[in-house]
């Protein structure tokens, strides 16, 4: 029983790591521009398909496809932001929702056309398959790597945000955009770079998540609510809030599906309501 609970906790943390990796960029960009972006999952899907195509068709090792997925999704994000998204920053929220939802539907159709409707399979190297036994608990090697890897990325993000001049400029722009711009910070450029970094991380998450989240053309729609929950519950404009929110969501979703499968996603929606009543501005404490 105890090992069962620990196993679910472990799977939940691995799942939460992925949700965080994909959702953290959305938190920063929503905090910066107060822009409602439903299309974040599209960039995660793009990273997933880049990785899957490279490993299936060109035989590239899975781990080597990850940086390509990161850079590819980030460039896709940068171009989409410069050409399309930035036109809507000052638009009403309804326009933003309609536009980004349309973007999701288009991306689903495009993925369907190019890659077919089926689930993509990751080509895992053998050393990442199977499980290792730690104190009587079976831990999936791949999930272990996932948690460690996301931990490192979180640390790197934290250092960038807290120790560099760029990070301080991002924080200043999130705190008070007018004052930051009026003191010489190019808020538009900061936002583009954050958007590129955030969509790159989403792409990395999409690639790493093929084994855990699956990958088919419906991906951006299927997980849209999860990414938004990470931001709404965590609070926009921070990384600590979304990290905690993603872990809570991951653990409760896995536990719920294991213990009360008939309740399905009901559990996390109840959780969201409870958390938002307790922390109206999100766990990170900033405006959401």
């Amino acid at each position: 029983m105890a090992s069962n609970i620990l196993g679910i906790l472990f799977d939940g943390l691995a799942y939460g790591s992925l949700l965080f990796l994909i959702g953290v960029g959305l938190s920063i960009t929503m905090g910066l521009m107060n822009f409602i972006n439903l299309a974040h999952g599209t960039f995660a899907m793009a990273g997933g398909y880049i990785s899957a195509s490279l490993s299936q068709k060109s035989g590239m090792p899975f781990l080597a496809t990850l940086p390509v997925a990161f850079v590819g999704a980030g460039l896709f994000g940068l171009v989409a932001e410069r050409l399309l998204f930035r036109r809507l920053y000052k638009a009403p929220h309804l326009d933003q929702v309609l536009f980004t939802f349309g973007f999701v539907l288009s991306s689903i159709a495009a993925a369907h056309y190019f890659f077919g409707a089926g689930q993509q399979m990751g080509v895992m190297p053998s050393f990442l398959q199977g499980q290792i036994r730690v104190y009587g608990i079976d831990l999936g090697r791949y999930r272990l790597l996932l948690i460690a890897f996301v931990g490192l990325i979180t640390l790197a993000l934290h250092l960038i945000l807290s120790k560099t001049r760029f990070g301080a400029q991002v924080r200043a722009a999130v705190d008070n955009q007018d004052a930051a711009a009026g003191l010489g910070i190019n808020v538009g450029l900061i936002f583009s770079l954050c958007f590129a970094l955030g969509t790159g991380l989403a792409g990395l998450g999409g690639a790493l998540g093929i084994e855990v989240l699956g990958l088919d053309p419906g991906f951006p729609l299927k997980y849209m609510v999860y990414f938004l929950l990470v931001v709404v519950v965590g609070g926009a404009g921070t990384i600590r809030g979304p990290l905690i929110a993603a872990m809570i969501l991951g653990v409760f979703d896995v536990a719920g599906k294991y213990y009360v499968p008939q309740a399905g996603a009901f559990i996390i929606y109840v959780l969201m309501i409870v958390l938002l009543l307790a922390f109206p501005t999100g766990l990170g404490g900033k405006r959401a």
Binding site: A168, A172, D178, A179, G182, G184
Partner: protein, 233 residues
């Protein structure tokens, strides 16, 4: 000598709503200007318009020989406008020192020079923007504009809500900046006499228009006129 700032026929506001109506004036380098008027006549809107944070309907803003009429805020700041926003606009997630290093540009106003003028900020350098008293926040707001090494400092109600002793201290610092550092300054202030005592020239706004322009001394000497124009306490 060429004008440092030249504003011609400026109309601006928020969205379609017009706040400023046909504003024209100019300033030379080293000049100091008090911008006075009752609440809601457009003083802060004029400051925000200079920073590119309102909608400009018509007219032009030239600064240091560059047309900034259509420039985004960060380019205006880099051209040499040092903005001290109303209500101080702290960054709660930045420390005092980060407020300064994040926006600093090369010039005589570096960290050491700032800490000489505001020793209090050296003591508070690790505190976050929302952990400061009102007076300390105002020092940060002024220091933060100074480290951009501006040619024109825009002070928007710097004394608002501060204790009288802090007001005296800050007024002395601003006065020194104008006289000794030769900085050009526009100061918006509810304490009209204080603003007039620090500056050489004065402009009074009413309903978005310039209704009076003279030397600061002239308004200081004619209390009745000053009272009529700005209803000073």
């Amino acid at each position: 000598m060429a004008d440092l700032l030249k504003i011609e026929g400026l109309c601006s506001g928020y969205g379609q709503a017009r706040v400023l109506d046909n504003i024209s004036f100019s300033m030379r380098a080293g000049e100091s200007l008090a911008l006075l008027g009752r609440n809601g006549v457009g003083k802060s809107t004029l400051m925000r318009t200079l920073m590119g944070l309102t909608v400009r309907h018509s007219g032009s803003v030239r600064f240091a020989g560059i047309d900034l009429s259509n420039a985004p805020p960060h380019r205006r700041a880099r051209a040499g406008l040092g903005w001290v926003p109303q209500e101080r606009a702290m960054f709660p997630s930045l420390t005092v020192e980060e407020h300064l290093t994040t926006v600093a540009r090369d010039g005589p106003w570096n960290l050491a020079a700032i800490y000489d003028v505001f020793p209090r900020l050296r003591e508070r350098r690790s505190n976050l923007g929302n952990q400061l008293s009102g007076g300390e926040q105002q020092m940060v707001a002024i220091a933060r504009a100074l480290v951009t090494n501006p040619r024109l400092l825009l002070l928007d109600e710097p004394m608002e809500g501060l204790a009288p002793i802090i007001v005296q201290e800050l007024a002395a610092v601003v006065g020194r900046l104008i006289r000794e550092a030769g900085l050009s300054v526009i100061v918006v202030e509810q304490h009209a006499r204080l603003a007039l005592s620090m500056t050489a020239r004065a402009i009074v706004l009413n309903r978005g228009q310039i209704v009076h322009e003279s030397s600061s001394q002239e308004l200081l000497d004619d209390g009745a006129k000053l009272g009529r124009l700005v209803a000073v306490a």
